[in-house]
């Protein structure tokens, strides 16, 4: 009987404790490494998001302590305004404004961490929205300084060209961009148009170009 006890004691205390200790220390290192890696990844993700990510859209509703932003995909995002600075983006600088200067349908972008469905805004910037239209010139209305465009996604739109519209054209000889004017536009040319406004809030087929870039049809016939 004593011999059996001795053998069992030897078996349990010499073999298993050592191997259990080894496994424990191995697993501790592995678990710690994994936890550290996951923590680092999470911290980096949060840092990147806080530092580099912004949320952009137009103001759907604004209350005392929060506003609702409609993002570019149409999603509604709640923005908490407890610790928020407000800025107006100008042509060459940004100036601090008050919350009262932010109105419904204003185009804004927001910086701050997102927790769940809510962004805690560190800063809200009121800016000007632009969108792009591109296509081929179908007809030119010289009397009204406008062009009819068939867009690359097959819509028909009219583009008004104003004196303030900045117009440039690709020069196929020099391979550089030159300033151009309405009189040099031709049917068949490809044009890239910048329009001021929030595309979601504009439901029409006539736009005013704030900027125009022309690729002459000859470029594609070379």
């Amino acid at each position: 009987m004593k011999t059996i006890f001795f053998l069992i004691f030897l078996f349990l205390n010499l073999f298993f404790p050592v191997s259990a200790q080894d496994n424990a220390s191995d697993s501790a290192v592995t678990k710690d490494d994994a936890v550290e890696k996951i923590k680092k990844i999470a911290e980096n993700a949060v840092d990147d998001e806080s530092r580099n990510k912004v949320y952009v859209g137009y103001v759907f509703d604004i209350k005392d302590d929060e506003l609702v932003l409609v993002g570019e995909s149409g999603e509604k995002i709640t923005v908490s305004l407890f610790i928020t600075d407000f800025y107006q983006i100008g042509a060459t600088k940004m100036t601090e404004i008050k919350k009262e200067n932010i109105k419904k349908n204003d185009y804004i972008f927001v910086r701050g961490p997102q927790l769940g469905d809510t962004i805690t805004a560190n800063a809200v910037y009121k800016d000007t929205a632009y969108f792009f239209i591109a296509g081929k010139i179908a007809t030119i209305d010289k009397a009204n300084f406008s062009i009819d465009l068939v867009t690359f996604d097959k819509r028909q739109v009219a583009i008004d060209i104003e004196t303030s519209t900045k117009q440039n054209m690709f020069n196929i000889k020099s391979k550089k961009s030159d300033k151009t004017g309405f009189s040099k536009l031709k049917e068949g040319d490809s044009v890239h148009v910048v329009v001021k406004g929030i595309s979601d809030l504009i439901d029409e087929d006539r736009y005013t170009a704030s900027r125009l870039y022309v690729v002459p049809n000859e470029f594609f016939l070379q």
Binding site: S27, T92, F220
Partner: protein
């Protein structure tokens, strides 16, 4: 029941529990290692997808990512496009163009304060371009 029989039974249960616990513990360790490896391998997956995109000759912007903030007044736009592409990068304030033969492109693009919506169009072989848009927000420190 003899003492030896009782002891042998108890010992059998103990030894079984220890061996079972050891096996379970080893399995969970392997699962953790696999999870960490998957996290580490994510960048390789995106690199592979970028190569696939280049092979398929589709316009793709590698950097910068859209909706990011810059504290510099210019940005280098890099990506892949069909070979021999004529690329136009247009914002409300500027156009930058370039011809790129080998499928990779890089354009230095000036930024203005606030939002910079940039539409990148790549013409290659026909008059209908491939297009992608990004937004970069320039906020000086």
């Amino acid at each position: 029941m003899k003492k030896e029989t009782i002891f042998a039974t108890v010992f059998g249960i103990l030894a079984g529990a220890i061996v079972g616990g050891f096996v379970l513990f080893s399995t969970s360790q392997k699962t953790e290692k696999m999870t960490v490896t998957q996290v580490d391998e994510k960048p390789n997956v995106s690199t592979q997808s970028a190569r696939i995109v280049a092979a398929q000759k589709q316009l793709d912007i590698k950097s910068p990512q859209t909706d990011t903030i810059s504290n510099k007044n210019s940005v280098k736009i890099e990506g892949v496009a069909p070979k021999n592409s004529f690329i136009i990068a247009q914002s409300p304030n500027r156009e930058v163009t370039g011809n790129f033969e080998n499928g990779d492109f890089s354009l230095d693009f000036p930024l203005v304060i606030g939002e910079n919506s940039i539409e990148i169009s790549a013409y290659s072989g026909n008059s209908i371009p491939q297009q992608k848009s990004i937004k970069i927000f320039y906020i000086p420190e």
